[in-house]
Subunit: 289 residues, 2 copies
C-alpha cells in the first residue's frame, strides 16, 4: 500500500510542479529549479497528502502544500551540496546544480526555490481559507529557519570543526532541525489544511523524522552501496558521531523500532485509516524505500 | 521631512528586529542574521510605513511588513556578496558575513533571513486579517523569486560572461528584477495592508526603483567616494553597461528626473498627505541620502 501510494504522490508532484513552474520560463535559474526539484522519494509530499486525506482535504488542494515542501527540501539540498557546505558533485546520481551550472546559479536556484515554496502555500488554490494559508506559511517558515532546518545545517557544519564527537543530545538536536522540522511540518500539514488539531500528526512526524535519521546511520554502516546508489561508511571514516557510533548498532536499531512504534501509536485516534502512515514508519526504519 | 521620517523608521526597524529576533538565541546563524540586518538606509521600510500611513494602517502593524522587507533585502545582500557572486569583502564599511564568519554561515544566514521575512509577514501581529497576510506573503514571494529579485541577480551575473554590453532594454529588465521588484512591493505594501488598490503606490514604486538605479549609475561616474563610503568608477572600469554608458550622463539625469516626476504624479490621488513620498523621490534622484 505505502510504496504504491508513494509512487502515485511522486508522479502527482512531478506533474504539479511542471505546471506550477511553467510560467517561470526558460531562464537558467528556472531550469535549475526544475532540475533540482525533480526526482527524490517524495516522502515529505506523501506525508502531506496522507495527512490531508485523513482530514478529508481534497487532493487538489493538498498537492500545493505537498509541492511546496518538496521545493523547500530541494532548495536545502542545493545549498547543502555547495562547495562551502558538503561539497557534493552528485545528487541522486546526477551532477549537483553547482556542477551542472555554477556556484552562483546554485545559490540563486536555492534562493528562488525557497521563495517559490512560500508562493505555493500562499496561493488561493492551496486552501480557500486565508487563515489556513497564513498558518501554513508561518509554520513552514519556522520549520525552515534559524530554529529549524537552517539551525540543523549550521550545527552539522559546526560539528566538523569541533575536536570531540557530538553527544547524543547534540546529535538529536541537530537532527531535529536538519531533517526533523520539515518532516514534522509535512506530517502535520494535512491537519492544518483542515484547521484541525495538528498534535497527533506532529507527534507521528517527530518520531518518524528521528527514526529516519537513525535508520540512515544504520544504513551507512551496513547498507549495500549498489542498492543505495551512494557510498557507505562515510561517517565512520570521517570520525563523525552518529546514532550508531553513540548507541551501538543493535541499540540504534532498537531505538529506531521504538520510535516507529511511538509514531504509530500517536495515530491511534485515526484508526485503520492511518494504516498507510503506519506502514510508512515501518518502511522508513527498514529503509526499503 | 523625508530625512527625519527615514531616520525614525530606521530606529523603529532596529528596535523591532531586536525584539523579533530575540527568541532566535545566540547561535552563530542568529548572530549573523542580526549583523546582516543591522544598518542600511531602510528606504524599503520607509516606503512600507509611509504607504501604510496613507491608508490609515497603524504603525505597530506596518512595522512587521517593514521589518520583513528589510530582512529579505538583507538576505539578498549577504548572498550577493558571496565569493561566487560579487565577491565583496565590505558592506556598509564592515566585513561582509562570509568574511566575518565563513561562506557556509553566510549561505545559511541568507537562507534563514529569507525564511524569517515570511515568518514576520505571516504572524498575526502583521495584520489581524489573514487574507491580507496571505496576500503580503504571495506578493513578496513573487517579488523575491525567479521572476523578481533572483531573476535580476541572475541576469546581472549572466551579463558578466557576455562579450557585448547589455542593451537598454536588457539593463532595464535586470534592474526591474534586482532592485525594482522589492521597492515596488515595499511601496505597495501599505495599500495591501489596508486591503486597498495597490495600483497607484505600485506605479510610484516602479518609477522610484528605476530612478534609484539610474541615480546609482550617475553616482558611480560623478560621486564623491568619501561621501559615498565606497569606490566609484567601478562600472566603467569593468566595461559594464550602465544607464549612463547607454544614455550619456545628461540624458541619464534627465531620465531619472522624469521618472521621479512620473512617480510623484502617480500619487496625485493621495493629495498633500503623500508629500513625504514625493520628497523621497526627489531625494533618491539627488541621492542626498
Amino acid at each position: 500500500m505505502f510504496p504504491d501510494r508513494l509512487a502515485k504522490v511522486a508522479a502527482r508532484v512531478a506533474a504539479h510542479l511542471g505546471e506550477a513552474m511553467a510560467p517561470l520560463g526558460a531562464e537558467p535559474v528556472a531550469e535549475g529549479m526544475r532540475y533540482a526539484s525533480a526526482g527524490g522519494k517524495r516522502l515529505r509530499a506523501f506525508l502531506v497528502m496522507e495527512g490531508a486525506r485523513l482530514h478529508g482535504v481534497p487532493d487538489d488542494q493538498a498537492i500545493w502544500a505537498a509541492s511546496a515542501v518538496e521545493c523547500l527540501h530541494a532548495y536545502s539540498l542545493v545549498h547543502d551540496d555547495l562547495p562551502c557546505m558538503d561539497d557534493d558533485d552528485l545528487r541522486r546520481g546526477l551532477p549537483t546544480v553547482h556542477r551542472k551550472w555554477d556556484e552562483a546559479t546554485a545559490v540563486l536556484v536555492g534562493d528562488a526555490l525557497q521563495a517559490f515554496s512560500f508562493e505555493l502555500l500562499a496561493r488561493e488554490e492551496c486552501s480557500p481559507d486565508a487563515q489556513v494559508r497564513a498558518d501554513l506559511v508561518l509554520s513552514m517558515a519556522r520549520a525552515a529557519g534559524a530554529q529549524g532546518m537552517v539551525l540543523g545545517q549550521a550545527l552539522d557544519i559546526a560539528a566538523e570543526s569541533v575536536a570531540r564527537p557530538l553527544t547524543l543530545d547534540e546529535i538529536t538536536r541537530l537532527q531535529a532541525g536538519k531533517t526533523g522540522a520539515l518532516i514534522t511540518w509535512s506530517a502535520s500539514a494535512g491537519a492544518r489544511l483542515a484547521g484541525a488539531d495538528a498534535g497527533p500528526l506532529a507527534a507521528y512526524g517527530d518520531a518518524l523524522g528521528l527514526a529516519f535519521q537513525i535508520a540512515d546511520d544504520v544504513l551507512d554502516v551496513e547498507g549495500d552501496p549498489a542498492a543505495l546508489g551512494k557510498a557507505v561508511g562515510k561517517d565512520e571514516e570521517a570520525g563523525k558521531a552518529t546514532f550508531v557510533s553513540l548507541l551501538g548498532l543493535d541499540a540504534a536499531k532498537r531505538r529506531a523500532q521504538e520510535l516507529a512504534d511511538t509514531g504509530c501509536e500517536a495515530l491511534s485516534g485515526y484508526g485503520a485509516e492511518a494504516e498507510c502512515l503506519r506502514e510508512a514508519a515501518r518502511f522508513v526504519i527498514a529503509r526499503e524505500m
